[in-house]
C-alpha cells in the first residue's frame, strides 16, 4: 500500500501566557490510502491537535515546533497558505465534533455543502447540488431532495452530523479527519450515524483519521488504533489485536469505568422511601415536557434516571428541586409534601436536598477560593464559624481525597475537571444532605476521572447513607452505580425497576433499543446489531 500521510517526529506547542508548553511530543504516524486510523486518548492527550495537523492546521495559540507532515509526498510543515488552502476541503476534509456549531447558522446546508467544490473549481454549482442530494441520500438523511434547503437550526443533531459528513465527501477527498463526530449524540442516534459514516468511508475508499475517547466506538470504525497519553504515543496496533491483547496498562485502563462494580449492598431496607414523585406533569410555556412521571428513591440507595436528551430527566430534577412548578402531581420528601417552589421551602428543607451539576466549571464561582466555596454552605446551613468552619472544610477536602493544605486556597481555575467536580461534591456534602441529585456529573469527564468520581460517590453513600437521584444518559454509568433504574423517553417513564431486572432481557422495546445501542468493544458489534435490527424489522 502506498503511504498517503506520513507524520514524523511531530512536536506541537501551545502558548499559555508567555510560556510555550508541549502538546504533542514527537509523535509519528503513517496512514495508507483507504485506511482508517483511530486516535484515542483522554482530553488533553493531543489527539485533536494531531488530527488537525494532518491538514496543516494548528489552532490559534499553537505552533508546530518540529517534525514533518507529508501528505501524498508533499510537505505540509512550512507550506504556503495557498498550498494548504488548495488541499483543504478538496483532498483533505474535516468533520467536527459539534455539527451545530460547525455549520454557519446564517446559511442553508446545501450552500455550505457546495462551497468547497465550487470554490475549488472541482465542479459547477448545479452539479455540486445534485451531488449533495445524492450524498444526503447515501448518508440516509430523510428527504434528501429538500433537507439541504434547511438552515442548521432546523434539523436535528444526528441529521446535522450526517449532513456534515456528506459535506466532507463533497470533493471526494483522499483523507477525512473525524474529530469526535458522535460524542455529542445520544446512543440511539450515534449508532445510525456511525453506520452511515462507516459505509460512506468504505464505499468511497477514503482514508480517515477517527478521533474519539471511546474505545468501543473506535473498535467499530478503525482498522488500526493509536493510543495517545499527554501528547505521546502509548501504543499503535491493528484494532482486533489491541482489543484482544493490549500491551500497555494505560490502554487497558481506558475501559475501566465499564468494569467498575460497587461493593454489593444489603437488600433495600423496608423503611418508607425518602423521595416520592407521584404523577407529575410539567411544561415549559405551552410545551409539555413531563407527563405522569412517578418514581421513588429509597433511603441510602441510588436511583438512576436514564434517557436521551429531551427525555425530561433534568426537568424531573428541576421539579424536585423546586425550580420548575409542576402542573400536576405531588412530590413527597420524607413523608411530607414538598412545597412546589424553592422560595416556599425552609432552609432546613433546602439543606436536606443538594444538587451536583454536569458542568463543574460553571457551577463554581471562578473568583471564590475553595475555602469560600465550601465555607458558605457550612455557614449558611450549619452556622459554623471561625476555627470550627476551617476544620470542617479540611475534613471535607480530605473526604473527597484532595489534600487540604494544597487545595484550600486554590481558585477553581487552578483545578482539573475531575478535581472541580470533587469540590462540587464536597459542597453538596457540606450541607449534610439526605438526598443528592446528580445531574450528568460524569458526562464531561474522561473515563478514568469519571470512574474516580463514581467510586467516591459510592464510598460516600456507604459511609453516610445518602440517597442519590442520578441523572445520566450513559448506560455504562448506570450499570456501575445504580440500584434502581428509571428509563425515560419523551417526558414519560417507559420502564423502571431494579438494575438487574432492567439489564436482563425481556423489557420494553425502547429500553431494548437503548441498551442495544451502547457500543461494545467487539469490532463486529455494529454490524451484528444492524443485522439483528434489520432481521427484526423484516
Amino acid at each position: 500500500m502506498t503511504k498517503l500521510l506520513e507524520i514524523r517526529d511531530l512536536w506541537i506547542e501551545g502558548r499559555s501566557g508567555d510560556d510555550w508548553h508541549k502538546i504533542v511530543k514527537g509523535v509519528s504516524l503513517d496512514l495508507a490510502r483507504g485506511e482508517v486510523l483511530g486516535l484515542i486518548g483522554e482530553s488533553g492527550a493531543g489527539k485533536s491537535t494531531l488530527g488537525l495537523t494532518a491538514m496543516g492546521h494548528v489552532r490559534p495559540g499553537c505552533r508546530i515546533a518540529g517534525g514533518s507532515i507529508r501528505f501524498d509526498g508533499q510537505e505540509l510543515v512550512g507550506a504556503s497558505a495557498q498550498t494548504l488552502r488548495d488541499l483543504r476541503g478538496r483532498r483533505i476534509a474535516y468533520v467536527a465534533q459539534s455539527s451545530a456549531a460547525a455549520f454557519n447558522p446564517a446559511w442553508r446546508l446545501i450552500r455550505q455543502h457546495c462551497e468547497a467544490p465550487v470554490c475549488h473549481g472541482v465542479m459547477p454549482r448545479a452539479q455540486a447540488e445534485a451531488e449533495a442530494v445524492r450524498l444526503y441520500g447515501e448518508m440516509r438523511l430523510p428527504d434528501p431532495d429538500q433537507i439541504g434547503f434547511r438552515f442548521p437550526h432546523q434539523v436535528s443533531g444526528g441529521q446535522l452530523q450526517r449532513a456534515m459528513t456528506a459535506m466532507a465527501m463533497a470533493c471526494k477527498p483522499d483523507l477525512i479527519i473525524f474529530d469526535e463526530p458522535t460524542t455529542a449524540l445520544d446512543v440511539t442516534t450515534q449508532i445510525e450515524v456511525l453506520a452511515a459514516i462507516r459505509d460512506i468511508v468504505r464505499n468511497h475508499g477514503a482514508a480517515a483519521i477517527y478521533i474519539t475517547h471511546d474505545l468501543a466506538v473506535v473498535a467499530q470504525m478503525a482498522d488500526r488504533v493509536k493510543v495517545l497519553l499527554k501528547g505521546e504515543e502509548v501504543e499503535d496496533a491493528p484494532v482486533r489485536e489491541m482489543l484482544a491483547n493490549p500491551r500497555e496498562a494505560y490502554t487497558r485502563s481506558l475501559w475501566a469505568v465499564r468494569e467498575f462494580q460497587p461493593a454489593p449492598r444489603d437488600p433495600a431496607p423496608a423503611s418508607p422511601p425518602l423521595l416520592k414523585i407521584d404523577g407529575v406533569d410539567a411544561s415549559y410555556g405551552t410545551h409539555k415536557v413531563l407527563e405522569n412521571v412517578s418514581l421513588t428513591v429509597p433511603r441510602g440507595r441510588t436511583v438512576a434516571v436514564v434517557g436521551e436528551s429531551g427525555s425530561g430527566k433534568s426537568t424531573t430534577a428541576r421539579v424536585v428541586m423546586g425550580l420548575l412548578f409542576p402542573g400536576a402531581g405531588k412530590v413527597t420528601f420524607d413523608g411530607a409534601a414538598l412545597p412546589t417552589t424553592i422560595g416556599a421551602r425552609s432552609r432546613r428543607l433546602l439543606q436536606r436536598m443538594q444538587m451536583i451539576h454536569q458542568m463543574a466549571d460553571t457551577a463554581l464561582n471562578p473568583r471564590h477560593r475553595i475555602r469560600e466555596v465550601l465555607g458558605r454552605p457550612l455557614e449558611f446551613y450549619l452556622g459554623l464559624k471561625g476555627r470550627e468552619k476551617e476544620a470542617r472544610i479540611r475534613e471535607l477536602l480530605t473526604e473527597i481525597e484532595l489534600p487540604p493544605d494544597r487545595f484550600i486556597d486554590r481558585l477553581p481555575g487552578e483545578l482539573s475537571g475531575g478535581q472541580k467536580q470533587r469540590v462540587c461534591i464536597a459542597r453538596a456534602l457540606a450541607a449534610e444532605p439526605e438526598l443528592i441529585i446528580c445531574d450528568e456529573v460524569t458526562s464531561a469527564l474522561d473515563q478514568l476521572v469519571a470512574e474516580g468520581i463514581l467510586r467516591l460517590l459510592d464510598r460516600i453513600q456507604r459511609e453516610r447513607g445518602i440517597s442519590y437521584l442520578f441523572i445520566t444518559h450513559d448506560l455504562a454509568t448506570v450499570r456501575a452505580i445504580a440500584d434502581h433504574v428509571v428509563v425515560m423517553q419523551h417526558g414519560r417513564v417507559v420502564e423502571q425497576g431494579d438494575k438487574d431486572r432492567i439489564f436482563s432481557p425481556e423489557h420494553e422495546p425502547y429500553t431494548d433499543l437503548l441498551l442495544s445501542s451502547v457500543p461494545e468493544m467487539d469490532p463486529d458489534w455494529l454490524s451484528r446489531v444492524l443485522d439483528q435490527r434489520r432481521a427484526a424489522a423484516s
Binding site: 488537525l52 456549531a101 454557519n104 447558522p105 446564517a106 462551497e115 468547497a116 470554490c119 434547511r150 437550526h153
Partner: protein, 322 residues
C-alpha cells in the same frame, strides 16, 4: 418543511408600538423640560422695559396662561397632524421655519453617512482580517485619535487646512435652497468630513469587535478547513452573522449625525436644525425648541427601531423557524 407562521410580524409590531410609546413619553419630557427653562418669551421679545400689562396681553394672545397639561395636550394634538404652531419670535408657522432647516440637516447627515458607513465597515473588516498586524493597529489608533478631539477642534483644523491654506473648500457652509447639488456638496464638504471623522472610529471598532468575536467560532474554523480564503471567510461567513451588532451601532451613529451636529453646524454656520435650536433657546422661542427636539427624538427612535428590525430579520432562527 412546511414553514410555520413566522414570528416576525408580531415582533416588528411590538417594536413599533414600543417606539410610539417612547415617542409620547419623550414628547412629555421635552415639553416639561422646556417649561423649566428660566426666563419668559414675553420679556425676551418685548424687552426689559415691557410693562406688566403688555406682558399679560402677550401671554394671553399665545395661550401661555393656560395650565401646562392643557397646553401639552393641545400641542401634541396639533403636532401629530404636522402643525407645530407658530414661532413666537417671528410669528411664522414653525413648519415653514423648520422645513428647509430639517432638509439641510438630513442632507448633511446623509452626506456624511454615505461616506462614513461603508468606510468604517470596510476598515473594521480589514482590521479584523489582519488582527494584531501593523495595519490593524494603525487603523485603530488613528480613528481613536480623531475621536478623542472635540468636534469643534476637528472642524477648525479642517478649516485651517482645507479652507485657509489649500483653499479647496469654503470655510462657511452657507447652503441655500436654490443651490445645485454639485455646489451643495462642495460647500458642505467640510462639515460632512468633520462628522465622518467623528463617527467612523465607533462604527469601525464595533465592526472589528463583532467580527473578531465570531472568528473564534467553530464554523469559521470549518470554513478555513474547507480551504476558503481569509477574505471570503470574513466577508461571507462572518459578516452576515455580525449584522445585528453592527447595525445597532450604525443606527446610533446615524442618529448622532442628525442630533449631535449642533456644534458642527455652529462652527460652519450651516443653516440646519441644530443652529435653529440654539437660536431658539436663546430667544426663548419655546414652540420651535419643542418642535426641533421632537424631530430629533423621533429620528433617534426611528433609527433604533429600524436597527432592531434589521437585527430581527438577520437572525435565521427567527426568519426561518423550525
Amino acid at each position: 418543511m412546511a414553514s410555520k407562521l413566522s414570528p416576525i410580524p408580531k415582533l416588528v409590531l411590538r417594536r413599533l408600538a414600543i417606539g410610539a410609546l417612547t415617542l409620547i413619553v419623550v414628547s412629555a419630557v421635552i415639553f416639561w423640560a422646556v417649561e423649566l427653562l428660566p426666563g419668559s418669551i414675553a420679556t425676551e421679545i418685548l424687552g426689559q422695559s415691557a410693562t406688566p400689562e403688555t406682558i399679560a396681553a402677550f401671554n394671553a394672545q399665545f395661550g401661555l396662561n393656560d395650565p401646562p397639561l392643557w397646553r401639552y395636550v393641545a400641542w401634541l394634538g396639533n403636532a401629530v397632524q404636522g402643525d407645530f404652531g407658530q414661532s413666537l419670535a417671528t410669528r411664522r408657522p414653525i413648519t415653514d421655519l423648520i422645513g428647509d432647516r430639517a432638509f439641510n440637516t438630513f442632507f448633511l447627515a446623509a452626506y456624511a453617512a454615505v461616506i462614513a458607513v461603508p468606510v468604517s465597515i470596510l476598515l473594521g473588516l480589514i482590521a479584523a482580517l489582519d488582527r494584531g498586524s501593523l495595519l490593524d493597529r494603525w487603523i485603530s489608533s488613528s480613528t481613536l485619535a480623531v475621536i478623542s478631539f472635540p468636534e469643534f477642534f476637528v472642524a477648525y483644523i479642517l478649516i485651517l487646512i482645507f479652507a485657509v491654506q489649500l483653499g479647496w473648500f469654503p470655510s462657511l457652509a452657507g447652503v441655500t435652497p436654490t443651490m445645485g447639488l454639485a455646489e451643495r456638496l462642495t460647500v458642505s464638504f467640510l462639515p460632512a468630513l468633520t462628522m465622518v471623522l467623528i463617527v467612523t472610529a465607533h462604527m469601525m471598532r464595533m465592526t472589528r469587535a463583532a467580527i473578531v468575536n465570531l472568528l473564534a467560532l467553530p464554523y469559521i474554523e470549518m470554513a478555513e478547513l474547507k480551504g476558503m480564503k481569509r477574505w471570503r471567510i470574513i466577508a461571507i461567513h462572518a459578516l452576515p452573522n455580525a449584522v445585528a451588532p453592527i447595525v445597532t451601532v450604525v443606527a446610533l451613529n446615524l442618529a448622532y449625525l442628525i442630533v449631535g451636529v449642533v456644534l458642527v453646524e455652529v462652527v460652519f454656520v450651516y443653516p440646519g436644525l441644530g443652529q435653529l435650536l440654539v437660536d431658539s433657546v436663546a430667544k426663548r422661542d419655546m414652540p420651535v425648541v419643542q418642535a426641533a427636539c421632537l424631530i430629533f427624538a423621533a429620528t433617534y427612535i426611528l433609527l433604533n427601531l429600524v436597527a432592531d428590525v434589521i437585527g430581527i430579520l438577520s437572525n435565521p432562527r427567527l426568519l426561518h423557524p423550525r
